[in-house]
């Protein structure tokens, strides 16, 4: 579709700017000014509305399509969450009021919301205190690793290593490296769990932390999880839980109870805030009491008079966001927790796990299952059978697009060849899931019968497969100005 810049016409005006009620002041000196105005679009409001409305139709989304992207928890985003975040009191609140003493009463509603949300998240996770500054999951991991570093430094210990299983999400080693650690990767065993022999071999006085995902990225619950944490503690290390897969275990198990010291949560996954095409999210970091002093940013406390105030954490790792992180996203997560309640959150995990196991059972005769055991909220298949005829996970994904489904996650986790990671979530009905299963069965059949034809998908989308190689070789990442 044409770009908004290609639809611009010189002199076309957009919305009416607020009127002028003060005089024109002399312009700044020439050397302070840009030579030419920025080449922004010149389109009417209707042009703009048509442009973006049409563009939106070129997207698959949870609202319009089944979106079983493994590891992303694409559950329904209740519309009422949008109304909650749009409430004027929240929406128009200037964050610098945090620093004005007279501002305390102007922001008490917002502080109370964050305070209540912290209590709710500790109840769900079994942790003790939360910081809302991390603005995404990866940011939460970075905070967690910095907390681990600060903890060991406070005890005068120099620990340079973080252990991750080979199934970990790329952000785990990346966040560790960013925090100054060296990463040691431990292989998974034939059950899809971290190899305990290898793990024990690598645990020593140089290890700062072990980073686990629970359940792991294969959708498998690590039965050794408590032992993993205990052994880490025995070696003087901390245990970190990547909470991306929290949707599988709410009301069933709390990471804090298994021995984890630090974890992060993804509000845009587990707590149903909309993904927005790739953000904004929120990745609060939660810790046990003994690490609370190190949390990023200030704490919110409730006084004896019921009033809320902001307290600096003297040993904090510092600031990761200007204020309290993505407050607008946190409002939505809070509203979601109120809607669901403890009973609803438990129910969500139950149905998420039920849906994933159903898909697994329905498709295990058609696709290879690398780990033949119970899965949790997501299941991982391999397109290895289809590869025998030259058909890849990528081709199956493109076929699904033609059938109106967003594809599952492909090529992750890295230890499974031609991986297909399917996470249906609890908000999908059996009707939709059965349709998806039929499409996957058709894919297996068509791939076997005519692999060359199969590889031509997608055929019905607005664009075919794009030449990514040329795009990377001849970079074109902005529309040139005339």
């Amino acid at each position: 579709m044409k770009l908004i810049y290609e639809k611009s016409v010189e002199g076309r005006k957009g919305v009416k700017i607020p009127g002028r009620d003060v005089k024109h002041y002399p312009t700044l000196a020439d050397n302070l000014l840009r030579k030419f105005p920025a080449g922004l679009p010149e389109v009417s409001e209707l042009d703009t509305v048509r442009h973006f409305s049409k563009l939106s139709k070129e997207n698959y989304s949870v609202d319009s399509n089944f979106y079983p992207l493994g590891s992303c928890t694409m559950k329904y985003n209740p519309k009422v969450l949008e109304d909650a975040a749009a409430l004027g009191g929240f929406r128009n609140l200037h964050p610098f009021l945090c620093y004005s003493p007279s501002g305390k009463r102007s922001i008490s509603g917002a502080l109370e919301l964050l305070y209540n949300l912290e209590k709710a998240l500790t109840a769900v996770t079994g942790m003790d205190e939360v910081s809302f500054q991390p603005m995404a999951g990866a940011h939460g991991e970075f905070a967690g690793m910095k907390i681990a570093a600060a903890f060991h430094a406070s005890r005068g210990e120099k620990r340079k290593i973080v252990i991750v299983p080979d199934t970990s999400h790329g952000t785990n080693p990346a966040s560790s490296a960013m925090s100054g650690f060296d990463v040691v990767t431990v292989a998974s065993d034939k059950n899809g769990e971290m190899d305990m022999v290898e793990y024990k071999k690598n645990l020593n006085g140089s290890v700062a932390a072990v980073m686990m995902t629970c359940p792991n990225t294969l959708g498998i619950f690590n039965r050794n999880i408590r032992e993993v944490c205990e052994l880490a503690h025995k070696a003087g290390a901390l245990a970190y839980c990547d909470g991306a897969n929290m949707n599988a275990i709410m009301g069933k198990m709390r990471p804090g109870d298994a021995g984890f010291d630090i974890m992060h949560l993804n509000m845009h996954k587990t707590f149903a805030t909309p993904h927005g095409g790739g953000g904004p999210g929120a990745g609060p970091v939660c810790v046990k009491k003994n690490l609370a002093d190190f949390l990023p940013g200030p704490a919110i406390i409730k006084g004896a008079d019921g009033g809320f105030s902001i307290i600096k954490r003297p040993r904090s790792i510092g600031r990761l966001a200007p204020f309290f992180g993505n407050f607008g996203v946190l409002v939505k997560a809070y509203a979601y927790i109120l809607l669901m309640g403890g009973d609803g959150l438990s129910d969500a995990s139950e149905k998420a796990v039920l849906n994933a196991n159903y898909i697994k059972a329905a498709l295990e005769k058609f696709y290879e299952l690398p780990y033949k055991r119970r899965c949790m909220h997501e299941c991982v298949f391999s397109a290895s059978k289809q590869m025998e005829k030259g058909v890849r996970a990528l081709d199956i994904a493109k076929f699904l697009i033609d059938r109106g489904f967003h594809p599952p996650t492909i090529y992750f986790p890295l230890i499974v060849k031609e991986a297909l990671m399917i996470e249906p979530t609890e908000t999908e009905s059996l009707y939709t899931i059965d349709e998806f299963i039929e499409a996957m069965k058709d894919a297996a059949q068509e791939a076997a019968e005519d692999p060359e034809l199969f590889k031509r998908h997608p055929l019905s989308s607005c664009i075919g497969r794009l030449d990514e190689t040329s795009a990377a070789r001849k970079l074109n990442i902005k529309y040139p100005e005339k």
Partner: protein, 447 residues
């Protein structure tokens, strides 16, 4: 309300296919000792009850009626179409555009947004956004560190104090050396700053307009940085870029900043938008997502995520950054906002914001015990000082229904009696007049 559509019959059927007797059996991998009891949360409520609870909390957010607060986050007017279009379901509930063929909407808007950022900054390429202006500045400095291989970072005192804090957290490792050059009044201590740039410097970090509202041309400083082999890294206010000299024109290699003022509500601190743009030499160092144009076999133009091999999901611990999500919906809002106000409208907004500020400067400058601290040109903000602690003054103004600005004492030594006051096109002349009268009255009564 749990949004799970399952009927009992359906659950039965599913369990049969799975070969399990109960849903609980599906959790058998969790050892009984590890199983938690019921969650210690209240039971779920209806939308009606939940909105009631939230409305109560929202009504307890009661700032004074008139606001002149800025400090990097501004209350510009947001056209209604920004909300309407960014709430379109296919934008709101889509994910990262990993599958190009069913994500052309998201991919094209990122490309258009990247283009807008390049046109605002004058630089060669931009990414799909990062979390906010502070983390964007930290990422920009990381780019300079990676490219130069050096570890010393020289920061101007006029950079937003909150961003400086974020930088301190990111670069807390012993191998980095952070040198802050304190401002002289409200301006950069130019000589001292240039003297600090040497063969160990990775980045010279500057903000324009700076936190005190001062506008300057830093071309000479970026030249000094380049002579020392360092990168010139800056943080910029996008609305100001409608009229101010661009980062590219001033010789900056990397530009970052907060895009909050482009159609994104204040929302008590977030979600905001961090933009990041760079010159050609630094392009491949840009962290996060980048969209590029590409063609299919029928020659149709489309868009794809490109340069992904730098990202965490491929390079893992060797990645440029750990960043995974961008602030996509906020970037969309910014793009829609810029499209709606347009090339000329955007300049008008900048002019109005500045002129309201100049008007206020003139007006309160006339009050005998008020001193305007800025000695150089400003954009939409300036600093004024009185004989009273800013805390007291701001408290008194709030009682009269005015949030008159930010107490600088908490951020800069020697500024305990100084207030940073900020203006946008939304501030009415009558409100500025009312503030000037109220301020004059307060000061004269306290004599």
């Amino acid at each position: 309300m749990s949004y799970c559509p399952h009927t009992d019959k359906e659950i039965e059927k599913m369990l049969r296919v799975i070969g399990a007797d109960s849903v609980d059996e599906l959790f058998s991998d969790i050892a009984p000792a590890l199983r938690s009891g019921e969650l210690k949360l209240e039971k779920g409520k209806s939308e009606f009850e939940v909105m009631g609870a939230l409305e109560k909390l929202s009504s307890n957010c009661r700032p004074a009626g008139i606001s002149f607060m800025g400090g990097g986050f501004y209350d510009h007017f947001i056209p209604s179409a920004v909300n309407a279009l960014s709430q379109l379901p296919e934008f709101l509930t889509a994910y990262t555009p990993y599958q190009s063929e069913c994500s052309q909407g998201t991919l094209q808007i990122i490309y258009e947004y990247q283009t807008a950022v390049c046109r605002l900054t004058g630089l060669d390429g931009a990414n799909a956004s990062v979390y906010d202006g502070g983390t964007a500045l930290a990422e920009a400095i990381m780019m300079a560190v990676r490219k130069t291989g050096r570890k010393k970072i020289v920061i101007d005192g006029g950079v937003n104090p909150l961003y400086k804090d974020i930088i301190k957290t990111y670069f807390s490792g012993a191998e980095f050396s952070l040198i802050e050059i304190a401002s002289e009044g409200c301006c950069m201590a130019r000589k001292k700053f240039k003297e600090a740039l040497d063969g160990d410097t990775a980045a010279a970090v500057i903000q324009n307009p700076n936190f005190f509202g001062t506008v300057d041309d830093y071309s000479d400083v970026t030249a000094s940085a380049h002579s020392a082999g360092a990168a010139a890294v800056g943080s910029f206010y996008p609305v100001a870029l409608a009229i101010l000299k661009t980062p590219a024109e001033m010789g900056f290699d990397i530009a970052s900043g907060s895009g909050q003022s482009l159609g994104i509500p204040l929302s008590f601190g977030g979600p905001y938008l961090g933009f990041l743009a760079a010159s050609t030499a630094y392009l491949r160092n840009l962290p996060g997502r980048i969209t590029g144009a590409a063609f299919d076999s029928a020659g149709r133009r489309g868009f794809v995520l490109t340069l992904q091999e730098r990202e965490q999901h491929i390079r893992r611990e060797r990645a440029s950054s750990n960043i995974c999500s961008n602030q996509n919906l906020c970037a969309l809002r910014a793009l829609i906002y810029l499209s709606l106000v347009g090339k000329d409208g955007f300049r008008e907004i900048a002019a109005l914001s500045r002129d309201k500020s100049e008007y206020a400067k003139e007006l309160i400058g006339k009050i005998p015990s008020v001193k305007i601290k800025n000695t150089a040109a400003t954009f939409n903000e300036f600093v004024f000082e009185t004989d009273f602690p800013a805390e007291t003054l701001l408290g008194a103004m709030a009682e009269s229904g005015i949030d008159a600005g930010i107490d600088l004492g908490g951020f800069y030594e020697g500024f305990e009696k100084s207030v940073l006051i900020s203006f946008t096109e939304k501030n009415k002349k009558e409100d500025i007049d009312f503030f000037a009268r109220t301020l004059a009255k307060f000061l004269s009564e306290k004599q």
